[in-house]
């Protein structure tokens, strides 16, 4: 322990921690900007400077370790003035037209300026207008708002192992962008959106679909339906000021109905369907000695990565569409037929924790009629929260409502899709029980749970040992994919999710998502699973009815036509 003083207050703090950590432990909040919990300490923005007795200049609290006898002044006039000047400099090179910005009222720079009491700027503006990049389906980059905090560069490089973004140029010409000023569509970007989730300002964000959705909702000729992914119900609350990990399923359904959606469905339904299809695919490959390991395909960030960097592994990918796209194709076929609505009049919206899902929805393979996308618009968790706020809905006080039929019936297996290892566990519950032809003794596959980057487990099925593996983040995906590429891995089944923690930590999740917050959401997701009556996908009677009424056999012809897809080598030179 070290004895230090903060603002003259004597404190005992553990050795080796930084000033920022010591302050936080003692309820002093030092303003920060480039600092982000799971990322490297960069100390680039210099916003967190404090005065330390004996130090000549000011010291950045994020990077300066404390020592015994240290005396720190957080709010000395010198430190306050410096902090203010630094933020003013940022604002002088920033398109600070807040009312025209998606981050208005949800922006770290704006909050900082407000808390520092910046009302006018001592520096003249030096902004040089740059073109906004919006040529891909998922991510928009507005360099005019970038404050070069480096968080996006860091998350893309260290968490995702992609290094798509970099800082180029010197002095005030420094730009954060893909190499050589290229656009994201021309580099190895996977549209995972992690960059957009950590950006403190409106400089990297998801492509806005809220306008399209408002328009559709306003269009009397359209039958607008919405599906909500498993991970949203445990994260949406955060963006609407509810406690971390709140499970808000019922209120969320109510809010969606208030927004004017004609039907509100649960993607968990098609998650169950995915398990049936993928489970049969796995059983098929095991029995017929097909290509193993089978690798999951429900994460479009991973699919984009695989198609670009591991096209030789395409044969390993499950041909199943993701739950989002299974929903889309069924909506425009089965559902349209059942309800007697012209498919062209159906407008399908999905709410996803993900920016890559926007790309996926636009893929040419995802059009059952050959011309229109099955999923018309994809909202991120953040976008849905924004629409709820725009509508002025008093979310916390809503009375809970249920999903529309038949999707009200979903399994706990589907619910855990949102956590890393969840698809694996859901599949194992079904595959093991179907193959062994007797009820599972234990439903929880604890060995595939957790948040280690790569997890391996052995599973007994009918007396035979099967090896499985789970990876999350693209950096870990690369390690695992590399092993598979080299051959000789013992695995029969692999789950890969591009985002840290799985979809709970998706690129479209609430701002401020950290591994700690993701763990809370994962906890809530397993809570949902535990509280659900049906916990295995193949026990979902509604799904099984769909087979008998419409699809025929799992993995059958109709199922293949609607629920499966193929992948393409998209290696870039």
């Amino acid at each position: 322990m070290a004895k230090i003083k903060i603002n003259n207050m004597p404190l005992n703090v553990p050795d080796g921690i930084t000033i920022l950590e010591a302050a936080k432990e003692n309820n002093f909040n030092i303003p920060t900007l480039c600092y982000y919990p799971d990322l490297d300490i960069k100390s680039d923005c210099r916003v967190c400077v404090v005065e330390v007795k004996g130090h000549k200049g000011l010291s950045t609290s994020c990077s300066t370790p404390i020592y015994d006898g240290m005396e720190i002044k957080i709010n000395s006039p010198r430190a306050q003035n410096a902090r203010k000047a630094i933020v003013e400099m940022m604002l002088a090179n920033h398109d600070a037209n807040c009312t025209a910005c998606v981050r208005n009222m949800n922006c770290e720079l704006q909050r900082l300026a407000e808390s520092l009491g910046i009302h006018e700027n001592r520096f003249d503006t030096v902004l040089q207008e740059k073109a906004i990049e919006q040529s891909n389906p998922s991510i928009v980059r507005n360099a005019n708002r970038c404050i070069k905090c480096g968080r996006c560069v860091d998350v893309c490089k260290t968490v995702q192992g992609m290094s798509v973004l970099e800082t180029a140029g010197r002095s005030h010409d420094a730009q954060v962008s893909p190499a050589y000023g290229k656009e994201l569509k021309d580099v190895f970007c996977t549209y995972c959106g992690q960059c957009s989730a950590v950006c403190p300002v409106g400089a990297i964000m998801e492509k806005d679909h809220t306008h399209n959705v408002w328009d559709a909702l306003d269009n009397g000729d359209k039958h607008v339906i919405v599906q909500v992914a498993p991970a949203i119900r445990v994260s949406l609350g955060e963006e609407l000021n509810l406690p971390l990990g709140s499970i808000v399923t019922g209120k969320m359904v109510a809010a969606l109905k208030m927004l004017g959606f004609d039907r509100v469905f649960d993607t968990n339904f098609t998650a169950d369907l995915t398990i049936i299809e993928e489970g049969h695919e796995l059983i098929g490959r095991l029995k017929e000695r097909g290509k193993l390991p089978l690798i999951t395909s429900c994460c479009p960030g991973w699919i984009n990565y695989c198609e670009q960097e591991f096209p030789d592994l395409i044969d390993h990918l499950s041909s199943c569409k993701s739950p989002q796209q299974m929903f889309g194709s069924l909506a425009k076929t089965y559902y349209a037929q059942r309800e007697g609505i012209n498919p062209d009049d159906i407008y399908v919206v999905s709410v996803m924790p993900c920016t890559a899902k926007k790309f996926e929805a636009e893929r040419p393979e995802m059009r059952v009629n050959g011309k229109d996308p099955d999923v018309d618009a994809v909202l991120t968790t953040r976008e849905l929260a924004k629409m709820i706020k725009q509508m002025g809905i008093d979310f916390d006080n809503l009375r809970e409502q249920k999903f529309d039929k038949p999707d009200e019936v979903t399994s706990g297996a589907a619910a855990i899709f949102g956590a890393t290892g969840g698809v694996m566990e859901a599949a194992l519950r079904s595959v093991k029980e179907i193959l062994e032809e007797r009820p599972l003794e234990k439903l929880d596959f604890d060995t595939v749970r957790g948040t280690d980057g790569i997890r391996e487990a052995e599973v007994e099925i009918s007396g035979q040992t099967h090896h499985v593996a789970v990876a999350h983040t693209l950096a870990n995906a690369r390690t695992l994919a590399q092993k598979v590429r080299e051959g000789g891995t013992p695995y029969s089944f692999i789950e890969i999710m591009a985002c840290p923690g799985g979809c709970v930590g998706g690129g479209g999740q609430p701002y401020g998502t950290t591994s700690e917050r993701s763990r809370e959401r994962i906890y809530s997701i397993y809570q949902v699973d535990r509280l659900t009556k049906i916990r295995k996908s193949h026990d979902n009677a509604a799904v099984m009815n769909l087979y008998s009424n419409y699809l025929g056999d799992p993995s059958g012809e109709k199922a293949h036509e609607l629920l499966h897809t193929h992948y393409v080598n998209r290696r870039k030179k």
Partner: protein, 423 residues
């Protein structure tokens, strides 16, 4: 005290720098031999007694870094010679490399032996093609004669050196940016701590010293630390190379003991200002140093005195500016230099230098107000106090010093500005 004190430049003029035989004839590499016969702790004692401080600008005590590296158990360890010398007005490292290359190599070898380092790099400024050629030849010759490579002088000591060259940006002289550059990355500094002696080149413990610092090592082994410390002043021991330039008769590099006055250097060694002009001001250390008026020339060369300017100005440049020049023109040139050289990593330097240049330009153009003066003052302080590396911290030194010593010039300029017309 009006003459040079030739210690590390003693051989210059007597030897052909491209001949290792010449160097050997003048007792070259005998200090390496001597060092190799000493116990490491003895060598450290000599460095501690010498109180030698870094000659690259920051003036950090050399013995502290040497000891820190020696204590590191992780291998490999590196010794890096900083020969980037990108600061306008400095050319003493080039002078040493072109005229006495083996002494630098000998210094690096002594450092390597004392710290048990096995690999060395000399990072030479891209524009220094001639120095690079001469250093390369010296390395090749030294290797051929067994002063580099395995089992040097038949001792259990192996060390070799490679040359790397800079991409021509000033910030690459900053130690971390330099290491990044050797690693093949963009030249931008890193967060400190950790410092290079624990996590340096390729993540390994690394000693990084200036050319002149390393070239002094053989002299310290020769004389012993205590005798070395008797040269110079109480607070600054030894000799310093001065790069003298600007409006001066004899431009060049001079080796002087610490404690010599700037007036003596300029008048006695440099021959004063030509063409009957008078000295108006000098800039000390290079672009990052303070600008001081003529009446302060009796100040002596000394680390402690320099530190009074809140700047690190030990690189030893003196740029003489005569009475034909306007202080704001000089400031504009300096600000433009930094505005161009900032690496763009941290906010105060990336954004601040542009604002500084723009404000200085207002003074140049007779377009300044009291508000600009205040803004400049606070901007300069903030940049100095909050920038991540020495570049941003010292970029405003010229402004800060002139705000102090030439304040009247600022006030006059505001008065002479035509701002009223707009009202």
């Amino acid at each position: 005290m009006m003459r040079e004190h030739k210690l590390i430049t003693a051989r210059i003029g007597k030897i052909n720098p491209e001949s290792i035989d010449d160097y050997l004839k003048h007792d070259g590499y005998t200090m390496l031999e001597k060092a190799l016969s000493m116990r490491r702790i003895e060598i450290h004692d000599h460095f501690e007694a010498s109180r030698l401080r870094g000659r690259g600008g920051a003036g950090f005590p050399v013995a502290v870094k040497l000891m820190a590296l020696a204590k590191e158990s992780r291998t490999p360890k590196y010794v890096v010679c900083n020969a980037d010398e990108g600061e306008p007005g400095n050319f003493k490292d080039r002078y040493l490399m072109e005229n006495n290359p083996h002494q630098i190599i000998e210094g690096m070898l002594i450092a390597a032996y004392a710290t048990v380092a096995t690999e060395g790099y000399i990072y030479i400024r891209g524009e220094y093609a001639n120095a690079m050629r001469i250093m390369q030849k010296a390395l090749d010759d030294a290797r051929e004669r067994g002063f580099l490579g395995k089992n040097i002088l038949n001792k259990r000591f192996s060390f070799d050196i490679e040359i790397r060259s800079g991409a021509g940006s000033y910030v690459c002289g900053e130690e971390f940016a330099l290491l990044e550059s050797i690693e093949g990355k963009a030249g931008r500094t890193r967060v400190k701590p950790p410092f290079p002696t624990s996590v340096g080149l390729f993540g390994q413990p690394t000693l990084i010293n200036n050319v002149e610092t390393l070239a002094t090592f053989p002299s310290i082994i020769d004389m012993g630390g205590k005798a070395y410390a008797e040269i110079g002043t109480e607070t600054s021991t030894g000799t310093k190379l001065i790069s003298l330039s600007g409006n001066i008769k004899h431009k060049g590099v001079f080796e002087v003991p610490f404690g010599m006055s700037m007036r003596d250097i300029i008048e006695k060694l440099g021959g004063g200002v030509p063409g009957g002009h008078k000295i108006k001001m000098i800039q000390l250390g290079g672009a990052c140093g303070p600008i001081i008026p003529e009446y302060m020339l009796d100040m002596v060369i000394d680390f402690e005195r320099f530190e009074e300017f809140e700047s690190k100005t030990g690189a030893g440049a003196i740029i003489v500016i005569d009475d034909r020049f306007d202080v704001f023109d000089i400031l504009r040139r300096i600000s433009a230099f930094f505005e161009h050289e900032s690496c763009g990593k941290c906010t105060p330097c990336r954004e601040g230098n542009l604002h500084m240049l723009k404000t200085v330009e207002k003074f140049v153009n007779y377009n300044a107000t009291d508000k600009d003066l205040n803004a400049l003052e606070s901007l300069a302080r903030v940049m100095h106090q909050t920038s991540l590396c020495g570049l941003g911290q010292t970029a405003p030194t010229a402004v800060i010093s002139t705000l102090h010593y030439f304040r009247f010039a600022y006030l006059n300029r505001i008065e002479e500005s035509n701002i009223e017309e707009a009202v």
